[in-house]
Structures are given as C-alpha cells and as structure tokens.
C-alpha cells in the first residue's frame, strides 16, 4: 500500500493522505487530475472494482467533496479519492466510460446535489424523484423537516412541554433563571 502511494505521489499531487485502516486510504487530488488518477489505478494498478461514488457537502467551505472509492480485489486494497469541487455551478468530468454503474451514480448526484456531469448518459433524467422543483434535497441548506411540515399535513393536536420550563412555570413563575434549556439544537 505504501509503495503504491509512493509510486502515485511521483505522478500526481496527492494531499491529505489518511490511513483509516491498513488497507484503506483516503487521499485528496485536484479536480483536473481525478479521472486521470482513477483511470490509471484501474488500468495499471488493478483497481478493477469500483465501489462507490459519493458526495459530501461542506457547505461551510462552499465545496462539494466527491469521493471515488476503488477496490483492488487481488491485493485487497481500498483507495478513496477525494476531490473538491465548487458548490456553485458544480460540475465534474464524467467517468461513465470507466465503469457502467457510474452512470447511475452520476444521475443520482445530479438529482440529489445538482452536480452536473456533462456527457453522462441520461444524467438529466429523473432518477429517484419525480417532478422535484425545490433545491436538490441532499444539499445541506435544504431543510427536510421544514419542507415536510409545509407539504405533508402533519397530524395536528400535539403539544409537548419542556420539563425545566414547565417546572419553572409551575413552581417559580416569577423568579429569575437562565433561558430555557435548548435540547435539540446544538
């Protein structure tokens, strides 16, 4: 594993290398070299099994992290290649020609995050959702609970009480205290 990374390091600019386990390494590479690296790993290093393509929304940094997860079935290595792309007008080079299932992943990411993969077959078709007209739901700024409450008629008539504030109301309504315990939000 280490020697493989050394080999790669001579060719590519790899950063943030982190060994999560002995046979699982996470690394970051620039957007422009990503597909190049993936292709290289597939063709020359035996990473023939494509595990998954995923996206993490780092909204604070304004970035999407795409993770290409590759597996080398012979030597039982895993490499997860991270690449950061801009959140605004997110676009990434399509890799559908490498493995067939990537088409599906790209369709999903297009729908769930709004990342475009130009040239990927059927990338603009509805995949999971049907007639969705809000912001892509997996983006962090989309508030699913709010959306649900606005759309789906929750059953009315429920009311809860916070023990601390209820006790204050009952036992010492006038006395000074700090604010209500805020349990759910951190």
């Amino acid at each position: 594993m280490k020697d493989l990374l050394e080999r790669l390091n001579t060719k590519y600019n790899l950063t943030d290398i982190k060994y999560q386990r002995d046979n699982l390494v996470f690394l970051t590479i620039g957007k422009e070299n990503t597909i190049d690296l993936v292709t290289h790993l597939r063709d020359y290093e035996g990473f023939t099994h494509f595990v998954l393509l995923s996206c993490v929304d780092w909204i604070e940094e304004g970035k999407f992290q795409l993770t290409y997860f590759l597996n080398q079935p012979e030597r039982k290595y895993d490499i997860a290649i991270r690449t950061m792309i801009d959140r605004d007008n997110a676009e990434m080079v399509s890799a559908h020609h490498l493995w067939r299932q990537i088409t599906t992943y790209q369709r999903e990411l297009r729908e769930m995050y709004g990342i475009n993969f130009p040239g990927s077959p059927g990338v603009d078709e509805n995949f999971i959702l049907e007639g969705w007209d809000d912001i892509p739901p997996m983006r962090r700024e989309f508030d699913t609970k709010q959306y649900s409450e606005d759309t789906f008629f929750p059953r009315e008539g429920r009311k809860t009480h916070d023990p601390a504030s209820y006790m204050k109301e009952k036992l010492y309504p006038t006395e000074p205290t700090t604010d209500k315990v805020n349990k759910t939000d951190e």
């Binding site: 429920r158 009311k159 009480h161 036992l171 205290t177 604010d179 315990v181 349990k183 759910t184």
Partner: protein, 599 residues
C-alpha cells in the same frame, strides 16, 4: 435416465398432502416472545417526567404532557410521556435510556382502529389492556448503559495526608474527568427547579462538554455570583433530585461548577462576563453583612448600576462562608477570588462596622435608598440539658469562627460533638485535625438525634469524617452531661426511636431503657443556630411582621413590612449558602423594583 428422474422427483412433494398442516390455528392474539417490543407501559409513580425518552426519540413520537393527579414538585416535573403511535417505531431506545426505569414495553402488539386520532396515549394513565402485562422488553442487563451510571471519582487527598492539616483535600477535576462527568448528564433540567438559585445547570454542564468554559462562567454568574464557593460547599440539592441518580450516581453538579470556576482565571472574569462598562445609576443601597446573600445582592445590584456599600462586623468578608466553614473545605483564597470580583465591580465594603452600635439602621435608611440585611445565624443554640452551661461546653459556630480568625481554641483529648448536620461534621473534622496535631491521635465522637440514614449532613461528609478516624455514632438523644469535680466526664445519651411524628413535626421519641455514655472532657453543641437581630430598633421592628416562632416575615422579594428594608439569607431560609445567594438575587430584583417605583 437423469431426465426421468428429473420428471419424477418433483412429485415427491405430494407426500405433504397427508401431513398435518403447520398453520397456527388461532393466529389472532398469539403471544409474542417474552422480549418482544410491544406497546408501552409506564410506572407513573416512578416516572419523574424527565423527558429523556422524548429527547432520544428520533421520531418525535413522545410528548411530555401534564397529567391530572400528578403534582409538579422537586424532582418530578409532573409531566408524563404521551406516545404517538403514528410516529413510534418500537425501537425501545426510550426504554433503554429511561433514567428511572419506569418506562417498559409489554409484549402485546394488536391495536386496530378506524380512527387515526386514537393512536395517542399516555402509558400508565390511559388504561390499556397491556398495563399489567409482565412480559415484554426491559432494559438489557447487565453492563448495558446509554450513559455513565458511575460518577467520576473526585480526586482527594488520602485520609492520612489530610487529617493533620487544613489544606483543601478535594483537588478538583481534571479536564478529562470533568468532561467525562459532564457527559453523563442527560440535560433533563429537573435540577434547575430544585436549585434555590435556579441555576442553569444543564447549560453549564453542556458548556463543559463543549469545552467552552467562558460560556459556562457566564451561565454561572447569571444566577450565582459565588461559583468558587458554591462549587465547594453547596448543599447540592440538585444532586438529590438528579434524574441520573435514580439508577446510578447523580451527576457531580457541584464539582463541575467548581471546575468551571477554577479553570477561569480571576483576571479575565470581567472580560468574560462583559462587566467592564457598567453605568452607575446614582442610587445607593446599603447591605448589612457580607455573607452569601449580602454579596449576591451586592453583585446583582452593582450590575444594574447601584452603588452598594457592605457593612461587615468582622475584619474580613464572607460571613459564615469564611467563619463557619473550615478551610480544608473552603480555602480562603477561593473565597477571596469570588469576593474580590464582586468588589471589583465598584462595591464598597466597610469592615469592622457593627450595625446598631457603630452605625444605626436609621442612619442607613436616611443615607441610602434601600437596605438589605443578610446578617445570618451566628448564635449557637444550646441543648439545655443538665450541665450544658459548663465552661467546656462550646457552640460549634463559635469554635469555627475562632479557628478561622486564627485564634487558639481549647482542644482536649476526648471530645463529643452533639449534632448531625454539616456544621457538626465541620467542627468534628476540624477538631480531629487539631487533636491530631496536638496529641497525635484522634478521639472525637459525633452523635446526633437522627439515625444514620436521615442525618442531615452530606453523606460524603460522614464518610470522610470516618476516614479521618472521627467516630460518628448517630441515633442518640443527649440526656445530661456528667460533671465530676467541675470537670466534664462525659455525655449520657438515650436511643432515639424517631425524630419526627406522623405529621412531620419535630417531636423525638426515645427508648429510655437503651442508654449509652460517651466519655469526654469537652463537649461541642452543634444543633442549630439562632439569629441576632438586636441591631433592628424597636421602632422598625414594629413595622416588621414576625410569626409565632419569632421568624421574620417577608414577601416574595424579601421585602419586610418596612418597605425600604429587605432581609434575606439564613435568617429567613435557614443555614444554606445557595439559598442565601438566591435570596440576595431576588432581593436585588426587589430592591430595583422598589427604588424604581419610588422614583
């Protein structure tokens, strides 16, 4: 050949036609497994309405609702969980996290209805067919916890290291220990109501978890200006009601408070608490006594912009905190840390001023817009048993004050302390230390009316006292002090059967046949303290209401009949630091109101 076999072999299945079917004959109502997670049950008498189930429920299926017949009281919010079966997923996390263990699941599972609004009920209150079902999911045993049940041990000096000196023996939590202890909190907030000052306990514990101690300090100072002191010697009523304490050790709320105060350097207090620019509003308030209530009142008044002057009889501030509590529990530098911060807000203090003699209350009334008196309980109370007027019979408060003032006190070889409160433990342990220094051994016995399980002293005080080789022998009522040749020989006691009668009044019953004799040449009485209100002149006294037992009556804001005079602290509430602080805070609000109303 294989082909023929392939044609014939499937027909073997017809063998089943003569066998009895395996169908369950009566499937409806079939009993589920003993561990099955069926419908909810709740033992509403055990339940305290802490709401932990509500917090852990990922489906927001649980609401806490008031229930008829369940009072809101200390340690019980009076709320009970109502479960919405339009949300529940029967994961039983609520059962596993339940602090009291009252919530369980039965193994019944059939609930069919045409009305969707029916699926909402309060287990234990709304009668259901499965209420008496004993089977069903219970929290797995053992070693299966969602939060720590064992409290993080407070590092202490070993008994041998501490029993000779008055240095503080509780060393305080480290960061890791504090965070670990804070992690156990379930943030129910039951404690807040019980705390006399209603401190934001869950919030500051959360601040510890978040490692945001400045925020923690801000929360502390919202309701309590003496965190260093409270963090050491508070009677922590909050811990008694802590919901985690129902099945395990309660959170060490007191030590966590101390941790926050300890970790914040005093020089940064002003910056943290945003107290650098306080506008003076030109009004003046006099405060008599620099005990907890006085300091608390001064702090909150000063924050609002009042000009406060504290009059202290003794040479140093702190009142009972300094003169009633031994240094090994509450080091003087920590008292100073809290007091100096209050003084730094512009509070003036005048030492060695005795109201009534040096300056009269009437003069204060004239010079100031309002007066707050928190003069505390400094007079010892006597048992009034035969022989209690002997010169070697002392009051604990007096002895403690003398120790704090640095004066030499009389210590003899065999001492008996009468009393089972914290003061009794303080004096016992102080005397034990003095004996140890003087004679190299300890021979001090503390005896109290109350038996061990209802002794008012904190449990750890008793344990620590025993570790320091003091003898604690509770459950005895003193009858007489035997004096021979003008010297005390010892104390006669008889077995106390009960302290309170059925209606809860103080009315001890004794077993006169069961007596005991404690040998002693010095006896210390520590059965309570009395107040000294000599400084209040007759004229003012007429305006103040007293009840039959001579206690001063005040309103919610500790305002007496004399509108300008506010009295709080131990005089009103009995001896307790945190009550004093709460009183001071409220009185400060009352004073603010009073002065604003009067223009």
């Amino acid at each position: 050949m294989g082909k023929i076999k392939d044609i014939l072999s499937p027909f073997t299945a017809w063998g089943n036609v003569v066998k009895e079917p395996v169908t369950i004959k009566k499937p409806i109502g079939r009993e589920a497994a003993p561990r099955y997670r069926g419908f909810h049950k709740n033992d509403i008498d055990t339940c305290i309405g802490c709401g932990t189930c509500e917090v852990i429920c990922e489906n927001e299926a649980i609401d806490l609702v008031p229930v008829d017949g369940i009072e809101t009281k200390d340690g019980d919010s009076g709320l009970r969980p109502m479960i919405d079966y339009g949300r529940c997923c029967w994961c039983a996390l609520c059962v596993d996290v339940c602090t009291t263990g009252s919530l369980t699941l039965s193994n019944e599972y059939t609930w069919v209805s045409e009305d969707p609004d029916e699926f909402r009920f309060i287990p234990g209150v709304d009668k259901k067919s499965w209420d008496d079902n004993e089977k069903g999911w219970k929290k797995p045993e053992p070693n299966y916890e969602f939060y720590g049940k064992k409290r993080v041990e407070m590092p202490e000096l070993h008994a041998e290291d501490r029993d000779k000196s008055f240095i503080e023996f509780v060393t305080g939590y480290s960061k890791q220990q504090a965070e670990e202890e804070a992690d156990r909190c379930v943030e129910c907030g039951i404690c807040t109501a019980t705390c006399p000052a209603h401190m934001g306990i869950p919030e500051y514990i959360k601040a510890i978890r978040n490692d945001d101690l400045e925020e923690g300090l801000r929360i502390l100072y919202e309701t309590n200006p003496l965190p260093e002191i409270c963090g050491r010697i508070c009677t922590h009523k909050c811990e008694d009601v802590c919901s985690v304490g129902h099945n395990g050790d309660p959170i060490s709320i007191r030590w966590l408070k101390r941790y926050i105060a300890d970790q914040n350097p005093s020089e940064k207090y002003k910056e943290i608490l945003n107290a650098e620019n306080i506008e003076n509003n030109g009004k003046k308030v006099a405060i008599i006594g620099s005990g907890p209530s006085g300091l608390s009142a001064a702090y909150y008044l000063a924050l609002t912009g009042y000009e406060c002057t504290i009059f202290e009889k003794l040479p140093e501030a702190g009142g009972m905190m300094r003169y009633g509590i031994p240094e090994y529990r509450l080091p003087y530098d920590q008292i100073d840390k809290d007091i100096n911060y209050i003084l730094s807000l512009g509070v003036d203090i005048k030492y060695n001023v005795n109201i009534g003699t040096d300056i009269t209350l009437d003069k204060l009334k004239k010079d100031y817009d309002a007066v707050f008196a928190g003069t505390g309980l400094h007079l010892g109370r006597s048992t009034r048993i035969p022989g209690s007027d002997h010169e070697n019979v002392y009051f604990a408060t007096d002895l403690l004050r003398e120790i704090s003032l640095g004066n030499e006190i009389h210590v003899s070889e065999k001492i008996v302390v009468i009393g089972g409160g914290n003061v009794a433990m303080d004096i016992t342990r102080s005397l034990a230390r003095l004996q140890n220094n003087k004679f190299g051994k300890v021979n001090v016995t503390a005896t109290s009316l109350e038996s061990e399980d209802i002794m008012p002293a904190d449990r750890e005080e008793v344990v620590e006292a025993r570790e320091e080789k003091a003898i604690i022998d509770p459950g005895w009522g003193p009858t007489s002090i035997e004096i021979e040749n003008g010297k005390i020989k010892g104390l006669h006691v008889q077995k106390c059967l009960s302290v309170f009668d059925e209606s809860g009044r103080f009315n001890p019953k004794f077993d006169e046949s069961n007596t005991k004799f404690f040998e002693a040449d010095m006896i210390v009485e520590s059965i309570g303290q009395g107040m000294d209100v000599e400084y209040i002149s007759e004229e003012i006294r007429e305006q103040i209401e007293f009840d039959q037992r001579g206690r001063i009556q005040v309103n919610d804001y500790f305002q007496t009949g004399a509108k300008w005079l506010f009295i709080g602290g131990d005089i009103i509430q009995g001896p307790d630091v945190i009550h004093g602080i709460a009183n001071g805070h409220k009185a400060a609000i009352g004073i603010d109101k009073f002065i604003n109303q009067n223009g």
